[in-house]
């Protein structure tokens, strides 16, 4: 978190990415750029390619053509672990904790690739951030409430000491009251200097905290603009923001 934020070159970038599942063309000529310390969001309906974008960024899906660039280096053929080591971390959809392992084990698995001495102090930092988590360290994570699970999921991702956090539908499956808290939490992490790339269906809420956003439609980026401009865009208002909380 102490790196100097150099905002001139992108941290993570897509250059003309195309992906296929078998013969199905998923992402079509997608260009994205996430700069250090930014909070950006990717909007899009079902089956628009949002999750594939995340998986491609993290290296769990290999693009057919185009380049995934991390810190100026093409990482197309580098495994997920290579990217995680360099600060790309994901909070998966629906939190996906290791349910039968304890909270502590989950957090430690977040730091799986790290062997620096910062792990202990980062654990302390997570406990400070989420006192509730500290109370439940030896409990199996599957027995926690939804809100607590979200805390552990975020804590687990932070344990990897990320520079960019990829969040897949962070507000999905959370009680309405928790959605607001969750967005506040995302902002808080962002303020500590972590770049955040968020995939969301809750477009209004996401754009209200984001700097920039993209809109993905059938695997193609149809809009790429600042959050304010997107919020004001009549087309987008009609398709996504019309009924507010879609």
């Amino acid at each position: 978190m102490s790196e100097v934020v150099d905002s001139s070159t992108p941290l993570l970038e897509f250059r003309g990415i195309n992906t296929h599942y078998g013969a199905v063309h998923i992402l079509k000529e997608v260009d994205l750029a996430i700069y250090p310390g930014e909070l950006v969001c990717l909007l899009g309906g079902n089956a628009s390619g949002k999750s594939t974008t995340l998986k491609t960024l993290l290296g769990m899906v290999t693009p057919t053509t185009g380049e995934v660039v991390l810190d100026g280096e093409v990482v197309n053929d580098k495994p997920t672990s290579y990217r995680v080591e360099r600060g790309v971390t994901m909070v998966p959809e629906n939190r996906r904790l290791f349910k039968r392992l304890t909270v502590k084990e989950n957090l430690e698995l977040g730091a799986y690739l790290r062997n620096d001495d910062g792990v202990e102090s980062d654990l302390e930092r997570i406990y400070e951030m989420f006192p509730r988590v500290k109370e439940r360290l030896n409990q199996k994570s599957g027995t926690l409430s939804g809100g607590e699970q979200q805390m552990v999921a975020v804590g687990r991702a932070l344990m990897a000491n990320p520079r960019v956090l990829l969040m897949d539908e962070p507000s999905m499956g959370l009680a309405p009251a928790l959605v607001q808290t969750n967005f506040e939490l995302i902002q808080q992490i962002h303020e500590e200097g972590v770049a955040i790339f968020m995939v969301e269906q809750n477009a209004n809420m996401a754009l209200s905290i984001a700097d920039r956003g993209w809109v993905l439609q059938s695997g193609r980026v149809v809009l790429d603009d600042t959050a304010e401009a997107l919020l004001a865009n009549p087309e987008l208002r009609a398709s996504y923001l019309g009924d507010g909380n879609r």
């Binding site: 769990m60 290791f98 084990e105 698995l109 799986y112 690739l113 599957g142």
Partner: protein
Amino acid sequence: MSETMNTDDAVVLAPARSAFDQDWRKIVNWGLICALALIFVSLTDMPDKLDKRVIVEPLLSMGYLSLIWIPIALGNFVTREVVLEGMAQHKKGLRELVAGVSVGAIGGAGLALLIWLLDTRDLSDPLVNWNDALLEVLSFGEGVGYGAIFWILASAGLGLAGGALHLLPAIANRLLFAISLTIVLSASLESALDDISEGFQLEWLFEALFEKKGGLSVQGAIILAVFAIAWVLFLGGQAKRGRAAVAARRELSPTKVNTVGLVLIAVAAVVLPMFLGRLTNDLLTNVGLFLLLALGLNIVVGLAGILDLGYVAFYAVGGYTAAIMTSPTSPGLSPELPWWVAIFVVVFMAIVAGLFIGAPVIRMRGDYLAIVTLGFGEIIRLTVRSDWASGFTGGAQGILSIPGADIVGIATVKGTDPQQVLYLVIGFVAIAIYVSWRLENSRIGRAWMAVREDESVAEAMGINTVNSKLQAFVVGAILASFSGAIFAAKVGSVFESSFKILVSIVILVIVIVGGMGRIAGVAAGALVLVGILGGPNQPGLLAEFSEFKLLIYGALLIWMMLKRPEGLIPNVRRSRELHQDEFLQDAWLKAQADDDDDEAVSGEAAPA
């Protein structure tokens, strides 16, 4: 059976129900189950085959025991109720007895029907045990009418006894259970006890308990019963207090108590084999070989969550590699290495085999993986037998005259000396336990657990899932190959028939029955299944049972899955998780009862 749910106070017993206030349908159901069970056991020929194995000399044999426990157990179960908090609990009385008798009588009638059919029809074509010998055993040679009436009455009486267990106070139930367990267990362990008593110069005790021609004497049974009673009443309480004290100490210094326990076990492992006779040593060697296999599989299945149904492949690789490397008569290649050098080749081959089988298999998940491993298990065996490989493996002729295990030239463990082999096995089991224990608490162990829980998330955490699964596969393969290498040195020959698919299944059953993910559980599973019942090719203590081994394995597995899915000695984590539904249900019912407050609500009776 509808009754009122009384939420006032569960402890106060409601008055006993009338003897005829019965759920007759339930009684008929259980009665039919009883009849079917009796007929099934009879047709497996257990009563006849096990008749020679005597429990208490003139009174009871294993054969009749295989029948009589059924009416007792079912006569008891029929009136067993799940009493939830807030439900009325009736005093037990005549009603339970009537239900027990009815169930027993229906069961006995089923057996009587079988006796009559045995006499009048010939179904020996599909049912191989449909013969006069069975009729003879069932009717005591006194004719059909006698047998039929005897079994109806006897079964009813046994059902009555089963029902009567409900009327006895809890302590009496515990005493009866302890007595029957002690007697049956002692009788089962007869040959081992004979062997052990010799080592400890306790023949006089053995002779006091057992008849010369086999089976407990009546006097011996009485001595054991007294011992069981004393144990439950006096010593049992002390043992419990001792355990509690240990547990309390453990809170204070967990490592200290563990160390003491470990040292005790280690001393026992070193000293005990000296006092045991050939038979027991040989038996324990078999147990150890399977324990080694089960510990390996426990890593693969329990920790990494890879359901490997072809685990026998690595056992075969170990056995054949050791055989080829050490035997002077092995065809093709015959370097005649000493055993301890060969072990390095064995490890190398196990790693190669683990990678070779693992690499294609590991990319699959769940059921697909299980089925493919099942295939590979057979492929290895069939390859060994094939003409193509028989130049090295001897094909169906196998490899003979494998010398014993030479340990760095210091000593040679001869396969014919079970005591030496047992020491060798104990050494390797100790290594395996240490490795399992260290791995479980290591970084790689945690990665395995993560992969087991959620493979894609584990990958997103940066865990190389393919590599860590392969590592688990290879560690498992090495442990299995050790077992194979010792097996080859012990038996002195290897044949492909020793590595059939059944071995894989038995190892898996040991892990499941014992308790997946827990070393002590796996040890208990190996001891019970291989030691008492016997391994796939190895006789256990109950040698007469070998014909029914698989039947008992299967029954045990089903029963365990239903009643105790966490295994004999469970891993705490797994146990909680498997019973979570019950906990939740209890909590929910309790909350319901609280909601209903003190108004009496009529509800359905508990499910049976």
